[in-house]
């Protein structure tokens, strides 16, 4: 495997805190801890280049560094990224985590090492195989041995998804597997184990959701611009932006006129989790545009935003829904909207 190794200014022997603002550079071959890694890696796995960046620079210019690093990764045709190890260095940990995220977005595996309490560990462990290290560089040999050993197993095509066996921090990613017996049999086994008080392992631990704090009430509705957001997938005929019927990948703004006016007769429904035909040629059955216009007419609200935010909520991954929420909130703010009503299918 061709590997790119990412380190900071300190481990490149450029300097400490005072040099943390240096922009990224790339050097052929290994630098600093790369030498220990090189020694520990198997013959077929080679560090082809080392990327060095100041910790502050990375954190302050993340999107710029990201674009640059993606180019470098492409240029060297890297198969894998190693970042750090960062031990307990907070900003270095954030940078190494950020590098894991960049690799993740490119579909390339990333390996790093951090002390458990490094803030970069919790924030970025989803994106890479991050190995536990000591809290300072005296644990370099141990960290490098663990990381390089793992790279060897990964390159050899071994099954590396048992985090307990492999030793990396649990990434929290679900992956389909085949078990030894069918689900029905496993379920009966499990309930019998529970009744008998025998140890058993659930196949899905319950996730917990983050809570959204409701914002303060709008002081004067009669002066407020109110928008409508809908996950029901009522789109203009022909579904021009091809919003998917299941686990949609994008949201759109449609003006009332895109549906040929407030009757929403030019409407079809892209939602794949309900019988959609009731909303065909009558989008008001899916999202209450008529009611909003009536409230506007009565002066109950100051203005109804004629741009409607539409996506399909069917089987929407929560992470993507949260991203859509942030994007839509930004757009609402930019258009002077004071409040929004969200309806579903």
């Amino acid at each position: 495997m061709k590997i790119i190794h990412y380190i900071n200014q300190f481990f490149a022997n450029i300097g400490g805190e005072e040099m943390a603002d240096i922009p990224p550079e790339v050097r052929e071959g290994v630098v600093g801890p790369g030498m220990a890694l090189k020694a520990a890696l198997d013959g077929g796995n080679e560090i082809v280049a080392t990327v060095i960046c100041g910790d502050n620079y990375f954190v302050d210019h993340e999107s710029e560094v990201s674009d640059w690093l993606k180019k470098i990764i492409g240029q060297y045709e890297a198969d894998l990224i190693i970042a750090g190890p960062a031990f307990f260095a907070g900003r270095y940990g954030m940078a190494c985590g950020g590098v894991c995220k960049i690799a993740y977005e490119m579909g390339i595996p990333a390996v790093s090492g951090m002390f458990e309490e490094n803030p970069g560990r919790e924030m970025y462990q989803k994106y890479g195989f991050i190995f536990p290290t000591d809290n300072n560089a005296r644990g370099m040999k141990k960290a490098v041995t663990a990381m390089a050993g793992f790279v060897g197993r990964l390159a050899a095509g071994e099954d590396i998804y048992d985090y307990r066996k492999q030793g990396y921090f649990r990434r929290g990613i679900r992956r389909n597997i085949w078990r030894e017996s069918v689900g029905a049999h496993r379920a009966v086994d499990m309930v019998l184990d529970m009744i008998a008080g025998r140890p058993y392992e659930t196949e899905l631990e319950m996730n917990t959701f983050s809570r959204v704090e409701p914002s303060a009430p709008i002081a004067d509705l009669s002066a407020a611009k109110i928008a409508l957001i809908s996950t029901c997938g009522a789109v203009p005929e022909g579904n021009p932006d091809k919003i998917e019927s299941h686990a949609a990948t994008h949201w759109q703004i449609y003006h009332i006129e895109d549906y040929q006016g407030p009757e929403l007769i030019h409407s079809v429904v892209a939602h794949g989790g309900c019988a959609p035909t009731f909303g065909y040629h009558n989008g008001n059955r899916m999202m209450p545009v008529d009611a909003m216009l009536e409230l506007e007419k009565q002066g109950f609200i100051g203005e109804f935003d004629k741009n409607i935010y539409v996506t399909v909520g069917n089987s929407m991954p929560v992470v993507r829904a949260a991203k859509f929420g942030e994007e839509i909130a930004k757009s609402l703010k930019e258009s002077g909207v004071a409040g929004a009503i969200l309806t579903s299918a």
């Binding site: 679900r174 597997i177 794949g272 992470v319």
Partner: protein
Amino acid sequence: MKTVKQMSLDLELVYVSDVRFGSETKMDDHVLYVNREELISVAADRFFSSVDVELARPGESIRIIPVKDVIEPRIKPDTGDFFPGILGGFEGVGEGRTRVLKGCGVVTTGQIVCFQEGLIDMSGPCADYCIYSKMNNVVLIAEPVEGITPEQHEEAVRLAGVRMAHYLAKAAVDVEADEVKTYTLPPVPPEKKLPRLLYVNLVLAQGLLHDNYIYGGDCKKVQTALMHPNEMMDGAIVSGNCVTACDKNTTYDHENNPVVEDMYARHGVDLEFLGVISSPTTTMLAEKERGVMAILSIARLLNADGIVVTEEGGGNPEADLMLIAEKAEKAGIKCVLVLHENAGDDGASEPLSNTSAAAKGVVTAGNNNEFIVLPPMEKVLGHLEAVDVLAGGVSDALRPDGSVNVRLAVIMDATSNLGITKISAETY
């Protein structure tokens, strides 16, 4: 008159190793011969403008799309009936004899609401996920007349499917059965002290074509009920469901429910199988609460030690699952939920939309968001262009070479909540 207290059902299995068209519909040396014209006339309906029947065998390069339901041909040879409340009466349901065309499925297709129909490939990687790829299938291809509603279209396809299954099963009445399996639940001697288990079969009843039929009755209007498992084997539940393909339970699945099969096999061995609770899953909270109340009431009345609960559909019914887990925990009844996940294309999102700390035992049938590339098939039965809009398809699912890049969600039963296959998921 001899009276028999215990219900006992003999499933007389006739193995189907091939299906071919012929001049007469009959079974001969494990080959099902189908008179095409006769079967077309059985399937005909005033709501169809055209009706055709095709065959699809394991290993063939055939893609069937969009699939609505799969039905296993069965018949009560002594009355000639099947599908009680829909085609037949109630005499002898769950006991006596039932003929089964094993290894054969009637596959119904149609662009009803399209999103919620699925795909079956008869060869390639789909077969790893789909039990129907391994069966000798008789496929209904019927186009609706113009101007009918999706509800009328759904009903016409559903009824055509059960008529076809019943018609084909008739061909097996007079041949010798290959295997006879007897299903009865003799009382377990109390001194054996085996755990008492109930199976809770949640049946989608959300309306808007997310519906099922118990004894012909619309599930939206039926109450939570205790059933003998043999009733399911005798066609008590027929799917009318147009929900995401990977997680709807087909009529075939109800006839061959794997939890019923497993509990039966272990009855008197390491458990006592008390029966099946079929309970409708609706969208309304009050009705969910009523169903959960009734499930726990029956479970406590029968002094159950544990329940296995299977979901149908996903998302909204997770609320029913969590309510059941909470109430079961309160009643001291151990509970295992069988479900599937929507954990995102990369598996990094929350797998469920509703959770509870009480859900301590969960069996998962995998993440249906995971992508799979299905290679092109030489022959397509149905409408290949439908793949772009199937739930689980993406707008560019269909590639120029005819291969499709889709989520597992589009494959019939791929992540079935009944735990039909060995698929699962784990966290890394």
